[in-house]
C-alpha cells in the first residue's frame, strides 16, 4: 500500500496563519506550546503515523479483529505494539491536565496529531479517540473517588475507554434504552445488551473502562430517565491493582463493510446477576454526560472525514503522477504523459485538494475555538467561542464526513479499474470512509441538530452572525486587484446571500413541522460549502499577503496555489449553494408529497 506522508507544511500553515496557533498558545496554561515545540511534536507524531500506524492499515483491513473461543478479542498483528508506542510516548495524555498525568497541551495541537493518526490508520485511531473522549466525560462528571481510581490510567492509555450507547432497539432514538442499573450497596448492578461498541473488547490493554447508559429502577421514561455508569471490564482493587473479571462479555463482533481492524462488539452486561458499576454524574442526567463525550467524538469523526480524504488524495495524486495513459488534450509533442495532465483527472484532483483544505480550515477553526471556549480569561470570549463550536459541530460532522466519502470515491475513480481492485488500497479508504456519516449521529441527526438546536432555538442569531462575517470577507476580497481573490470574493458574497435566504425560509417555515426536517440535510450541505469557501478564502488572503510580504522562494509554489485553489472552489463548488437554496425553498414540500399508497404503488 502506498505510503502516507503527513502534510506537515499544510498543517503548519493552517495552525499558524489560519486559526491562530499563537493566540491559542497565549491562553492560560498553554505556555509550552511555542512554535518550535509545536514543530517537534508534530514531526515526531508524523513519524509514528507514517512509520508505525500507516503500515498497519492494510494488515488491519485484511486480518480484521477476531473473537477467540474464550470470548476475548484479538487485534491484528502489530496493533498491540503500536498501542504501546503511543502509550510509552505519552501521546494519549497530550491534551489533559498534568495533575492527572497529562501534558496539558492545547486541543488544537491534539487535533493536528489525531489528523495524522486518523489518516494513517482510521480503524486504529478510533481507539485513542474514544479513550480521550471517555477521559473527557469522566473528568467533567465523575466524582473524585472514581476519578482517582480510573483517570490516571485512562489518561496514560494503559486502560482504554468505550462509549456504550446503542442497543438493538435504541439507535438514533435513545428514549428506547432498556439497559438497567439497580442500586446494590455502594455500587450498582448493570444488566443489558449494548451493540456497535467500538473497541468494546480487545487485547491492547489489560483493562477497558466502559461508560454505559442505563436506566435506574425509578427512572422516568424517555431520554430524561437515562443515567451514565462506569463499568470496568476488570474490577480495580483499592490499591489500584486489578481484581476479578466484571460481568462484561463480548458476545460477538460485527462483520463490517470497512474499518475491519476496529473491533465492533456486542457486549452483554450482567449475565450472572449484574455487572458492577458506579454512577457518573447525577441520576437521570446521563445523556448530558454522554454528550461531553459525544460532542468530542463528533468533531473527531468530522476529522476522520478529512483524514480519510487526505489519505485517498495522496494516493490518487501519486497514481496520477505515475500512470501513463493516452495523450492528454492540449499536449503537443511526442511521447505519452501521466494522467495527471488530463483535464478531467485534474478536475477530480482539484476537487479533492480544494475540499480537503476547506475541511482542514473548518476543523482546525473549531478545534481552536474549543481551546478558547475552555481557557480564555474573558468570559465573553469564552461564550463567543463556545457558540461557534456549537454551530460548527453539526456542520463539520455532517459536511466533512459526506465530503470525505465523495473524495474517497473520487480517489477510486482516479485509479480507474485498478481502484476497484483491493491491492491498490484505494478501495479500502472508500470502504472505511462509509461509516463516518453514520456513527456518532448520522448526517440526518447532525442536520436535525443544526436546524433545531443551532438555528431555530436562537432565532437564527448565531448563524446570521457567522454569515455576516463571511459576507464581509467576500466584500473585501471582491475589491482585490488579484483576479483569483476577486472571483472568490464575488462567489462567496453570492453564496452568503443564498444561504441567508435559505435560513430565513427555515425560520418562517413553521406551518408544517416536516418542512424543516425535509430541508435539513440540504441546509447542512449548503452551510458546509459556504463555511468551506470561507476557510479557503481566508487561506487565499493570508497566502497572498505572505507572498507580497516576501515569503521565501521555498514557499512560493505552496502559497501561490492558495488563491487559485480558492478560486477553483468558488467557481466549481460555491455555485451549488444556489441550487441547494432552490431545493430548500421550493423543493422541501415535495419530499413528503407522495401518500404511502403512491409510494408503494409500483
Amino acid at each position: 500500500m502506498p505510503a502516507y506522508v503527513p502534510p506537515l507544511k499544510e498543517i503548519r500553515f493552517v495552525l499558524d496563519h489560519l486559526v491562530g496557533m499563537a493566540d491559542v498558545a497565549a491562553l492560560p496554561g498553554f505556555g509550552d506550546a511555542t512554535p518550535d515545540m509545536v514543530d517537534s511534536i508534530l514531526s515526531e507524531a508524523a513519524k509514528i503515523a507514517e512509520h508505525t500506524l500507516a503500515p498497519l492499515n492494510e494488515i488491519g483491513d485484511r486480518q480484521g479483529a477476531t473473537l477467540t473461543a474464550d470470548k476475548t478479542v484479538r487485534t491484528a498483528d502489530g496493533w498491540k505494539d503500536a498501542w504501546q508506542t503511543l502509550i510509552e510516548g505519552g501521546w494519549n495524555g497530550l491534551p489533559f491536565d498534568p495533575e492527572q498525568g497529562g501534558t496539558g497541551l492545547p486541543n488544537l495541537l491534539n487535533t493536528a496529531v489525531h489528523e495524522m493518526w486518523q489518516s494513517a490508520n482510521m480503524a486504529f485511531a478510533l481507539c485513542p479517540m474514544l479513550t480521550q473522549g471517555a477521559v473527557n466525560a469522566m473528568r467533567l462528571y465523575a466524582d473524585d473517588a472514581l476519578k482517582a481510581r480510573y483517570l490516571p490510567k485512562m489518561v496514560s492509555g494503559e486502560w482504554t475507554g468505550t462509549m456504550n450507547i446503542t442497543e438493538p432497539q435504541a439507535g438514533s432514538d435513545l428514549a428506547a434504552t432498556r439497559s438497567r442499573a439497580v442500586p446494590n450497596g455502594d455500587h450498582f448492578l448493570v444488566t443489558g445488551q449494548k451493540i456497535f461498541i467500538t473497541y468494546g473488547d480487545h487485547d491492547l490493554t489489560d483493562n477497558i473502562i466502559h461508560l454505559v447508559l442505563a436506566r435506574l429502577p425509578d427512572a422516568p421514561p424517555g431520554v430524561k430517565g437515562i443515567s451514565l455508569f462506569v463499568v470496568p471490564k476488570v474490577l480495580v482493587n483499592d490499591d489500584g491493582s486489578l481484581g476479578a473479571r466484571n460481568q462484561v462479555t463480548c458476545v460477538s463482533l460485527e462483520h463490517k463493510l470497512g474499518i475491519h481492524g476496529s473491533p465492533t462488539a456486542v457486549l452483554s452486561f450482567g449475565d450472572e446477576g449484574g455487572a458492577i458499576g458506579w454512577l457518573v454524574g447525577q441520576p437521570n442526567r446521563g445523556l448530558e454526560c454522554m454528550f461531553a463525550m459525544m460532542n468530542h467524538a463528533r468533531l473527531n469523526v468530522a476529522m476522520q472525514g478529512l483524514a480519510i480524504a487526505e489519505r485517498a488524495y495522496q494516493q490518487a495524486l501519486g497514481y496520477a503522477r505515475d500512470r501513463v495513459q493516452g495523450k492528454p488534450v492540449g499536449w503537443s509533442g511526442d511521447g505519452r504523459f501521466a494522467i495527471v495532465h488530463h483535464p478531467d483527472v485534474r478536475r477530480l484532483l482539484m476537487g479533492m485538494k480544494a475540499r480537503i483544505e476547506a475541511m482542514r480550515g473548518l476543523l482546525y477553526t473549531a478545534a481552536a475555538a474549543v481551546d478558547v471556549a475552555h481557557s480564555h480569561a474573558d468570559p465573553d470570549e469564552r461564550a463567543r467561542a463556545a457558540l461557534l463550536v456549537d454551530l460548527l459541530t453539526p456542520i463539520a460532522k455532517g459536511w466533512c464526513t459526506e465530503t470525505g466519502q465523495v473524495i474517497a470515491s473520487d480517489g477510486v475513480q482516479v485509479h480507474g479499474g485498478m481502484g476497484f481492485v483491493e491491492e491498490t488500497g484505494a478501495a479500502q479508504h472508500y470502504r472505511d470512509a462509509r461509516i463516518t456519516t453514520i456513527y456518532e449521529g448520522t448526517t440526518a441527526i447532525q442536520a436535525n441538530d443544526l436546524v433545531n438546536r443551532k438555528i431555530l432555538r436562537d432565532g437564527g442569531a448565531a448563524v446570521r452572525g457567522l454569515l455576516a462575517d463571511i459576507a464581509a470577507l467576500g466584500r473585501e476580497l471582491g475589491d482585490s486587484p488579484d483576479e483569483a481573490l476577486r472571483l472568490t470574493g464575488f462567489a462567496l458574497r453570492d453564496s452568503v446571500i443564498h444561504a441567508g435566504d435559505a435560513v430565513e425560509w427555515l425560520l418562517t417555515a413553521t406551518g408544517d413541522a416536516r418542512l424543516p426536517a425535509a430541508a435539513s440535510a440540504h441546509l447542512l450541505e449548503l452551510l458546509g460549502l459556504v463555511t468551506g469557501g470561507w476557510q479557503l478564502a481566508r487561506a487565499a488572503r493570508v497566502a497572498t499577503s505572505l507572498l507580497a510580504g516576501g515569503a521565501g522562494d521555498a514557499d512560493a509554489a505552496f502559497l501561490s496555489a492558495k488563491p487559485l485553489t480558492a478560486r477553483f472552489f468558488a467557481t466549481q463548488f460555491l455555485p451549488r449553494v444556489a441550487a441547494l437554496r432552490a431545493a430548500i425553498v421550493t423543493g422541501s414540500g415535495a419530499v413528503m408529497a407522495l401518500t404511502d399508497e403512491q409510494l408503494f404503488a409500483a
Binding site: D32, M37, S40, I41, S43, E44, G89, G90, D553, A554
Partner: protein, 250 residues
C-alpha cells in the same frame, strides 16, 4: 565517559529525489528534511550506552545551516544531553566536517565518537574515517554491535566476508551500520524536556576550521532508466549470457 555524536540534516529518505533542471544538484526546495538515518542509529546507540551506565553524558553536534537546529533538537528529544551547532551555509564535505569535529573533540574530550557510517544525501562514507585519521584514534566502522569490555569496546563490524569483531581501546571512533539498533521514537515528555536542554552555536572561524569545499560537482543526473528484460529460449543461452555479457561467471 562522554560520548560525542555527530549528526547530519539530510533530505528525508522517503522523498522522491528529483534532479534540478540545471543539473547542479538535487531539488531541496519544498522537500522534507530529517536526521540522516544512520546518525539516528548512532544517537540511539549512545542513549543505550548511557542507559546501560557505560556513558555519562551525550553531546550531539552537527555542521550545517541554522535549520539544522531541528535535527539537534530531535537528538536531544531522543536522549542526548546537550547540542552544538557549527553553523555554516556552505556545502559541507567530509574533510571539512571531520576537521570541525576534530576541533569539537579537542574542546569536549569525549571518550567515544559515534556517527552514522554515511549520510544518505552524498553517500560519501568518509567522515568517520577521516576524523579517526586526523585524531590518530582507532576506528570501528560499519558497527552492528557495540559492547563495553575491559575499559574499551568490542565492536562487531559487517564486512564482505561476514562479521568481524574488533577490540578498540578508547578513545575511539565508531560508525553505525543499519543493523546496530532500531531507533526509538522520542516521547512527548522528552520532546518537552529537549527544549530546555542547552544548544550552543559556534562558527567554523571560531573553531579555526576552513570548511571551503575541496570537491567540485560537475554534473548531477538521474540514473539511467531500466531497460526491458528479454526472454531466453533455454538454459544454455542463459549461461552463455551470464558468461559473456554479464560476466558474472567465469
Amino acid at each position: 565517559m562522554k560520548i560525542l555524536c555527530a549528526v547530519k540534516r539530510v533530505v528525508d529518505y522517503n522523498v522522491k529525489i528529483r534532479v534540478k533542471t540545471d543539473r547542479t544538484g538535487v531539488e531541496t526546495a519544498n522537500v522534507k528534511f530529517s536526521m540522516n538515518p544512520f546518525d539516528e542509529i548512532a544517537v540511539e546507540e549512545a542513549v543505550r550506552l548511557k542507559e546501560a551506565g557505560v556513558a555519562t553524558e551525550i553531546v550531539v553536534v552537527t555542521v550545517g545551516p541554522a535549520t539544522a537546529q531541528d535535527t539537534l533538537r530531535t537528538a536531544l528529544a531522543m536522549g542526548a544531553d546537550r547540542a552544538i551547532l557549527v553553523q555554516t551555509d556552505t556545502e559541507t564535505q567530509p574533510l571539512g566536517v571531520a576537521k570541525a569535529l576534530k576541533a569539537i573533540v579537542a574542546q569536549e574530550a569525549p571518550g567515544l565518537v559515534i556517527l552514522g557510517k554515511q549520510a544518505i544525501d552524498d553517500d560519501c562514507n568518509q567522515t568517520g574515517q577521516m576524523l579517526a585519521a586526523l585524531l590518530g584514534w582507532g576506528q570501528g566502522t560499519f558497527a552492528s554491535r557495540i559492547a563495553a569490555a575491559d575499559g574499551g569496546l568490542t565492536v562487531t563490524r559487517e564486512v564482505d566476508g561476514g562479521m568481524e569483531t574488533l577490540a578498540l581501546p578508547l578513545p575511539a571512533i565508531v560508525t553505525a551500520d543499519l543493523r546496530l539498533n532500531e531507533p526509538r521514537y522520542a516521547t512527548l515528555p522528552n520532546i518537552m524536556k529537549a527544549k530546555k536542554k542547552p544548544l550552543a552555536t559556534v562558527t567554523p572561524d571560531a573553531l579555526g576550521v576552513d570548511l571551503t569545499p575541496r570537491l567540485t560537482t560537475l554534473s548531477v543526473s538521474e540514473p539511467p532508466g531500466r531497460s526491458g528484460g528479454v526472454k531466453l529460449p533455454d538454459v544454455a543461452t542463459l549461461v552463455a549470457k551470464l558468461k559473456n555479457e554479464a560476466k558474472v561467471i567465469p
